[in-house]
Symmetry: C2
Subunit: 243 residues, 2 copies
DNA sequence: CGAATGGTTGACTATATTCAAGCCAAGTGG
DNA sequence: CCACTTGGCTTGAATATAGTCAACCATTCG
C-alpha cells in the first residue's frame, strides 16, 4: 500500500519546482547550465502526503534524503515496549532523512504533520554529484553539519532546563528556524505539530507542557493558541531558554 | 601554551602504533602496501595528555579528528552563563572530534579524563584518502553514522527515563562499548570519568546519581564503587534501561 | 598533617507526573 | 441544522520524583 501510495503521488519532473515554497533554500541554487539539468533530472517531487501519513518507516532501507518543499514532518522512534518518542521536527526548506546517512536503514519513522510535498534526492545521485562538484559537496556537508549540530548539541544544552525554560527554548528554536526561511518580522509562528508531539519531544507530560505554556502566557511573554504561538516578548523568550 | 604543549607531546611517526591499545579498531586495518604507508604518514600520535588537560577547545578551527589509542575523553559545551554541560564520553578505540565535521570550529571542548594518547587524523588527509579509496570512505561513513546515531537517537530514547533507569541505561551503554572493544566476559567496567561528569551528562544532580546508584546496588543489580561498576545482573540492567 | 576535592547522606522543598474530570472545536450522522 | 461523538487540550488535587542545602565522610595531594 505504501509503495502504491508513492507511485500514486509521484509527479513528473516537468516542472518540479513550481509549487515549491522553499526554492531559495534548495540545493540546486549552486548549479547552473548542464549541472542544473543533471540535478533536476536526479530529483523527484512527491506529494501530497496527508496529515498522519507515513513517509518512510524506521528499518526500511535508506536510499534518499528529502527536501521539504511544503508542509512539515516529525520523526519518531519506537521503544521496545511500543512507546513512540518524537526525535525531531522538520520544517519547510529543511532536509529530512539525514539521520539515515551512514546507516543501512532509516533509524526513525517520518510522518507528515500537515499536507506535505517533498523533493526526493536519491543518495546514489547525491554521491555522484558530490564527486562531480566540490561546491555541492561542501554545501551538503555544511547542511548536514548544521542539522546534526542542532539535533545533538542543542539538546545537550536543553536537557537540564526546567519545563518552562524547555518550552521557551523550543519556541525560540522554532521561531529562529521559521524566520531564517522567511525573513518577515512576524512574531506569530504556526505550530504544524500537535501539542502532545511537542510534549513528547521535550520529555514532558502533555499536562506539564500545557501548564508551562499557560505560565508563559500569563507572564505576558507569549500568546498561546492551539495552532500557533505569538512571541510577544521575544527578548524574554530568548533569555529564558538559556541556562 | 596550548600549542607549546602540543609540540612538546608530538611523537615521531616511527613507530606510531606500538603502544596503541586499540589497534584492531584502527581505520588502518583497511589498508595494505602503499596505501598503508600513506596512511601511516598522514597520522600523528599525540600524548600523553594528563587528566583534566584540554585537547582542543570549542571555537578553535576544526582540522582533525582523533582516534583514541589509550585513555578516555569527555566533551563539554559552555552555556552563556558559564555552566559546563558534558555532551559525550569517548573511550579507547572510538573517534573524537566527529562533532566538528561540517563546522568551521569544534563545537565542544575535549578534555582528557585520564592519561590519554591520541592518533590525529588531519581532515584534509582524510578527505584525500576518501577520494583515493572507496572502502576507506565507506568505513569512515559507517563509523560517523554510528557515532551520530548513538549520540542522537540513544538520547532520544533516554530522555524520558526516570533517574534510576537513566543510570541503568548509561551503565549498560558503557558496558556495551567496553565489551565491543574487548571481547572478554568481564562484568566490571572502569569509570574513567568522575561521577559528577556522569550526573551532568545524564541531566541529574550529583546527589540524585548517587542515590540511584545506591538503589541499584541495594537491589543487587550492580556493585557501585568509586572508579568502577560491576554489572552483577546484566539482564536486569538491560531491562531497566528501556521504556 | 591539613586542605581540597569528590562523593554520600538526610531533611526539606521544588518540580513534574499521574489520574480524573471537564472543556472545546471539528467532524459525523440523523 | 443540530445533537453526538471524538480527539486534543486544559485544569485541579494528590502523588511521585528530583533538586537543594547543609553536613559529613573518604581520598588525594601538597
Amino acid at each position: 500500500m505504501d509503495m502504491h501510495a508513492h507511485n500514486f503521488r509521484l509527479v513528473t519532473n516537468e516542472p518540479p519546482c513550481d509549487e515549491c515554497q522553499a526554492e531559495p533554500f534548495c540545493l540546486q541554487s549552486i548549479f547552473s547550465g548542464e549541472q542544473l539539468r543533471t540535478f533536476k533530472n536526479a530529483v523527484r517531487v512527491k506529494g501530497p502526503y496527508k496529515r498522519g501519513e507515513v513517509i518512510y518507516r524506521a528499518g526500511t532501507p535508506f536510499n534518499s534524503i528529502y527536501f521539504i518543499q511544503r508542509g512539515a514532518v516529525k520523526t519518531q522512534v519506537c521503544t521496545v515496549s511500543g512507546v513512540l518518542e518524537v526525535t525531531a521536527f522538520c520544517l519547510v526548506g529543511e532536509l529530512l532523512g539525514v539521520d539515515g546517512i551512514g546507516c543501512e536503514n532509516y533509524p526513525a519513522d517520518a510522518v507528515a504533520l500537515e499536507e506535505t510535498w517533498l523533493c526526493e534526492l536519491p543518495f546514489s545521485q547525491i554521491k555522484a554529484m558530490c564527486s562531480a562538484c566540490d561546491e555541492f559537496h561542501q554545501a551538503l556537508i555544511l547542511r548536514l553539519g548544521r542539522t546534526i549540530n542542532s539535533d545533538v548539541y542543542q539538546w545537550a544544552l536543553a536537557r537540564n532546563l526546567k519545563a518552562k525554560q524547555k518550552v521557551a527554548w523550543f519556541i525560540y528554536d522554532l521561531f529562529k528556524r521559521v524566520r531564517s526561511r522567511n525573513a518577515s518580522d512576524l512574531r506569530t509562528i504556526p505550530l504544524p505539530m500537535r501539542k502532545t508531539d511537542i510534549a513528547n519531544y521535550l520529555g514532558l507530560a502533555p499536562e506539564s507542557l500545557s501548564r508551562a505554556l499557560n505560565a508563559l502566557d500569563n507572564d505576558g511573554i507569549i500568546v498561546n493558541k492551539t495552532n500557533n504561538i505569538c512571541l510577544v516578548d521575544l527578548q524574554q523568550v530568548k533569555m529564558m531558554s538559556v541556562i
